[in-house]
């Protein structure tokens, strides 16, 4: 029998704000442990939470980016369970009235396996805001708890069970991460815990509409682990189905070293979180005016930007995809593309030259030694026939180590292209005189022989002659 997997993701994204979501502490995980703490985020007796409006604003931005409906009225609920990383032994979250509902995230391009994907939109269920818990570090017999993280605003982005392969889940996560980065909500660095993901997964016979037994996967610490765990779990569940073994609703833990999942918690042992409205906080109300203000400043999301790049700059969808993989890169491209006639040239320069250099040095685009303005100037010099593409590479090499503009470099080094017909004619005549063999070959009908003559003229001009003019003048002299 053929089986189909059904996958939904629960993604947690830390929201970048100046202060924590319910107190005035600096939102700075990574500082010396337990330094960004106060009675509120430590849950001391008598302390009370106060909502951070900026965290709400950013959650609304996330929702608008993903096309969610934004609730005019939402509220805070307490999720009750015991764990040492939870200062109050309840988490302030949102249960039945989240800030954002619905929405979708488009996926396209390739999955983790490299196989091309059928472009489609993955549906979202909701996005809500909650407080992050502290970070536990287990040290043999003891555990250390760093409460710096407790109270970091944390969005939970829940997808519908709308994906069917590990590749789709990977593409969804990639798109989601990009969207959050573009909107300035989070850097989504998984290693820093800024993005965390749980997977819900079930299998069913192909064509069946009822969902199979849902299994939740936890302890997924990289996109690669997510991809591997899904593939593993699909196989495990299909094997069980084929062997006629029952599957139980449970939470399973991914072991990245062993490459397998093991039971963490069965349904019988599931928590009863006893959600109820938090009496310490007022409901969140948002007006149309507030939404209009946020919408007016809404950052462009990566997929809109990708489409716009293709349309506005005439670059290929593939190039647009590469250039919008990262917001800073997209900003760089867009800034450079403004000053030139043909943005495709800029796109090529970024991809073939600049990214190669940055890749070798392990630097992000934000640390590029060549500014977007200078790259645009360089391309403009090519477009104005001031320099040839070949000379441009020499100029570019110089730009990597100097802050000078390409114009200055060209001027200082006398690299301007020679477009003076008289000067080129002189060199053409000399080359024809000194290279009788290729001349004879060409005139005998071997059209390719002209290449060697062009090369000689270029060499004589030290690369500065305009190659098109050289070809023209050679042909004029020989034909």
């Amino acid at each position: 029998m053929k089986y189909e997997a059904v996958i939904g993701l629960e993604v947690h994204v830390q929201v970048r704000t100046r202060t924590k979501v319910f107190c005035g502490c600096s939102n700075g995980a990574g500082d010396e442990p337990n330094t960004n703490v106060c009675p509120v985020c430590l849950g001391y007796p008598g302390s009370l939470p106060v909502m951070n409006a900026e965290a709400i604003r950013k959650t609304i931005i996330a929702g608008m980016t993903c096309g969610c409906a934004i609730a005019r009225y939402s509220k805070w609920d307490r999720k009750n369970y015991y764990y040492p990383d939870m200062p109050k032994n309840y988490q302030i979250s949102q249960y039945d009235l989240p800030i954002c509902e619905g929405g979708e995230i488009p996926i396209e391009g390739k999955g983790f396996s490299g196989k091309p994907l059928t472009p489609r939109n993955i549906k979202l269920t909701r996005i809500h805001l909650e407080e992050d818990v502290a970070k536990s570090t287990h040290l043999g017999k003891y555990s250390g708890i760093d409460y710096n993280r407790a109270g970091t605003p944390l969005m939970e982005i829940v997808s519908e069970p709308d994906m069917h392969t590990a590749d789709e889940a990977y593409a969804y996560l990639t798109a989601l991460k990009q969207a959050m980065q573009f909107a300035g909500i989070s850097d989504c660095d998984m290693e820093k815990g800024q993005l965390r993901c749980d997977v819900n997964i079930s299998v069913r016979p192909a064509g069946e509409t009822k969902l199979g037994t849902k299994i939740e996967l936890k302890n997924l610490n990289s996109f690669r682990a997510i991809h591997r765990s899904i593939d593993y779990e699909i196989d495990r569940q299909i094997d069980a189905c084929e062997a006629g073994e029952p599957l139980y609703q449970e939470t399973r833990r991914w072991d990245d070293d062993a490459g397998m999942t093991t039971v963490m918690r069965s349904k019988e042992n599931a928590h009863d979180y006893r959600y109820f409205p938090d009496p310490d906080l007022m409901p969140v109300t948002v007006t149309d005016d507030q939404l209009d203000t946020i919408r007016a400043d809404l950052p462009e999301c990566p997929w809109s930007r990708r489409d716009r790049f293709v349309e506005q700059f005439g670059i290929t969808p593939y190039d647009a995809d590469v250039l919008t993989a990262d917001k800073a890169l997209a900003d760089y491209f867009e800034a450079a593309a403004q000053g030139v006639k043909n943005a495709k040239t800029v796109a090529n320069w970024i991809q073939t030259e600049l990214l190669a250099v940055l890749g070798k040095e392990g630097k992000p685009i934000t640390e590029s030694p060549v500014s977007a303005g200078h790259l645009a100037d360089l391309v403009a010099l090519i477009e104005a026939d001031t320099i040839s593409g070949k000379i441009a590479k020499q100029v570019f090499a110089e730009m990597l180590i100097s802050d000078k503009s390409p114009k200055e470099i060209v001027k200082e080094k006398g690299m301007e292209q020679v477009t003076d017909t008289g000067a080129i004619e002189g060199m053409v005549a000399a080359v024809i005189a000194n290279n009788p063999k290729p001349v004879a070959d060409y005139q005998a009908g071997n059209a390719k022989a002209i290449q060697s003559l062009v090369g000689q003229v270029m060499k004589a001009s030290r690369g500065k002659a305009n190659p098109q003019m050289v070809v023209q003048l050679l042909k004029a002299a020989l034909d």
């Binding site: 009675p39 430590l42 849950g43 001391y44 007796p45 008598g46 302390s47 009370l48 939470p49 106060v50 909502m51 307490r78 009750n80 015991y82 040492p84 200062p87 109050k88 032994n89 309840y90 708890i145 009863d272 006893r274 959600y275 109820f276 009496p279 310490d280 906080l281 007022m282």
Partner: protein, 488 residues
Amino acid sequence: MTDQCHMTIHEAAGHLKSGAATSRQLCERVLARIAAVEARVNALSHLDKDTVLAAADTADRRRAAGQELSPYDGIPLAIKDNMAVHGQPCACGSRVLAGFTSPYNATAVQKLLDRGFIPCGRTNMDEFAMGSSTETSAFKTTANPWDLTRVPGGSSGGSAAAVAAGEAIAALGSDTGGSIRQPASFCGVVGLKPTYGRVSRYGLVAYASSLDQIGPLTKDVRDAAILLETLSGHDPMDSTSLNQPVEDYAAQLDTASARGLRIGMPREFFDVTGLAPEVRQAIEDAAATYQGMGAELVPVDLPHTKYAVATYYIIATAEASSNLARFDGIRYGARDQEAGDLLSTYRKTREKGFGLEVKRRIILGTYVLSSGYYDAYYNRAQKVRTLIREDYTNAFTSCDVILAPASPFPAFKVGEITDPLTMYLADIYTISVNLAGICGISIPCALTRGGLPVGMQLLGPAFGESAILKAARVFEQQSPLAGKMAEL
């Protein structure tokens, strides 16, 4: 001259102003009174004399330099043991907070400090404010200064007894279902529960967040007005505190009159089984007194009164079960040292740290929030709460204040009530006020034949403190009980 420990805030302020007393003298007299009677009354759970006297000297220096923070600079006040005072213990009558010291000031405490009031003693209370007698305190039961074999009421029983015994000029308490007003009535003092949101809850250890409110316990109405004005106001640290103008409640008392005052008499309150005849008589006499002074008595209906106790014990326990989850021995307070792993640390710490009544309410609250029961209990209770609130809204369309008993009976004997349900049902006159979020004051109105104080409540609409204070003042002015102290 009144013994300084029996002075009111405004009397003490007068003495400080005239130079008849210094803050040091005032504080020393209160400390001496504590030394003399505390062994019998047991009103306090903690007292740091040195800090009190140091603060008194500082206040005297400020006053000598003409830089007093307010007319009240240097007046000592007792604070219930569930409000944070920086550097002081905050045990909430519980073993689970043994050894805990507050790292910050509650907003209400800060507002007192800003006016120069001196925290002087932390008062005993029912554990986490769950109780009506101080008998659930893990440390001791406070005695009623009028009859040491009787309870002072609760949960702010320590505060009420301290004020009645002259161990405090005045005190702060907290009221979740009557915890200021009922002990005030048992101890013959004035107790005010402000409108929910009038006083910041920041720094008040939460029992039931949607019901808790800090308020004063004082020797007279003027002091209650002075402290209410001091404590009130919006606090950015408490999202449930409301931004309503703070009035000069004490100044308003000077023009108080009963003429034309419409006093609501809720029919349902006089149908309560267990309403002691002496209490009923005292309230009816008070009504007649008001009438004699030109007030109009208006019968009103509060038809959902009979559901108030049940509604309260669902909502309050639900919130408490969550609020008290943080006491787990991990970050502060007592941790059971025998426990081996995490789960047994939780279990043992909480098993040993909490008393019976607290455990009962945590279990009740956990149950009513459980999956499958939420709608039948918590959700339904919230709906009834709305109906109770509407009852009061309707009643206040035809009256200015409502007159009611504070408790069906006067102070009972220590150990007399052992059945929790009997204890809960006695909250009938106070509890709906918290559910509705309105304000209420309890003032002494009579003594029983046995010499026990009887208190009466005046209830007002949300932010109607001015009305109930004025009505209380009118009664107090002609009351034969005014200034009458418990004899110890």
